[in-house]
């Protein structure tokens, strides 16, 4: 089940899309490590290791050529998935088969981001042969 009740559909401009994609990638890159090394300003060159819990991560799934790429993904509990429509026609992302959650209609260039606690299969309800799934490790 999704842990964000309100899916975020951003505006349609490519600049915003690109900005969010870059932010997601940056966030993803910054949050990839569970361990950080912190330097204190008053220190005389010594460092302290602090173990932080793994921060949520964001993975990207591209919609292109009437398919979700990658079609299968393994994520950690609480991680987000960022779907971006690079196809020539509009699609959506709908939980399969009950439709417990669903993105708005994603026009070419639109994207949808949501965090998850449970594994799920999904499909495009407009083009039902387009399917994907993600597993929580």
């Amino acid at each position: 089940m999704p842990i964000m009740n309100k899916p975020h559909l951003m505006n349609k401009t490519k600049y915003t899309t690109l900005g969010l994609a870059l932010s997601a990638m940056l966030f993803s890159a910054c949050s990839g490590n569970s361990s950080q090394q912190v330097a204190h300003p008053a220190d005389t060159g010594t460092t302290v290791n602090t173990q932080l819990p793994a921060a949520p991560h964001t993975d990207t799934i591209e919609i292109k050529g009437m398919a979700f790429n990658p079609g299968e993904l393994t994520i950690s509990k609480g991680d987000s998935i960022f779907w971006i429509n690079h196809d020539i026609v509009a699609h959506n992302v709908t939980q399969f088969p009950q439709g417990h959650w669903k993105s708005p209609l994603l026009q070419p260039g639109d994207h949808f981001i949501q965090a998850f606690d449970d594994s799920a299969s999904y499909y495009c309800s407009i083009h039902p042969t387009m399917r994907g799934k993600f597993l929580i490790k």
């Binding site: 026609v89 070419p108 083009h127």
Partner: protein, 179 residues
């Protein structure tokens, strides 16, 4: 392409549609220009939008209506992208023999669809959609893509192919229900 056997039932429709889309040996020798390809691409998409609108007006079958809505949405989306690209490339679509042949075919098919109602209409619409997509895919593969000069226009035609193949798959499944 998704392998589904062509049902004999709509082979006749396919043959009819092919007359308007599959280039003759003579036409095959003559290379299309990019403005002509743009015209064919926009016309072929618009025709399927028009068929979809007829289905939404005439059919009460939920599957047919859902399919028709998808056809209208997808083909209008492709037209939008094609027009945007043509404007960007300063290509003015140019009417040609293939465009005229497509429009001639549309007139006949529209008349045929309008003459039917109920289940007979649903069956005719589904069979025509399967035949039309099959013929359009063939024309793009064998004529439009090979003749296209501009890389971006060729890219657009190539990216349309998975959409058309998906439509064909859906149309064949739907047509099979009305056997």
């Amino acid at each position: 392409m998704i392998p589904i056997k062509t049902p004999i039932k709509w082979m006749g429709t396919l043959a009819l549609v092919s007359l308007f889309l599959v280039p003759t040996a003579e036409a095959q020798k003559t290379k299309l220009t990019d403005p002509e390809i743009a015209s064919i691409a926009v016309t072929a998409n618009q025709i399927d939008v028009n068929y979809g609108k007829i289905a939404l007006k005439k059919s009460h079958n939920a599957d047919i209506r859902t399919f028709a809505e998808t056809m209208v949405r997808d083909h209008e989306g492709v037209i939008k992208q094609a027009v945007e690209l043509a404007n960007k490339l300063h290509v003015t679509p140019k009417t040609n023999a293939m465009t005229k042949s497509l429009l001639n075919g549309e007139k006949k098919t529209t008349k045929m669809l309008n003459s039917k109602s109920g289940k007979a209409f649903d069956k005719a619409y589904a069979e025509n959609e399967a035949a039309y997509h099959d013929a359009v895919i063939s024309a793009i593969k064998t004529k439009l893509i090979p003749d296209c000069h501009n890389a971006e226009l060729k890219g657009l035609l190539t990216s349309v192919m998975p959409v058309l193949e998906h439509h064909l798959h859906m149309a064949k499944e739907m047509a099979a229900k009305f056997k």
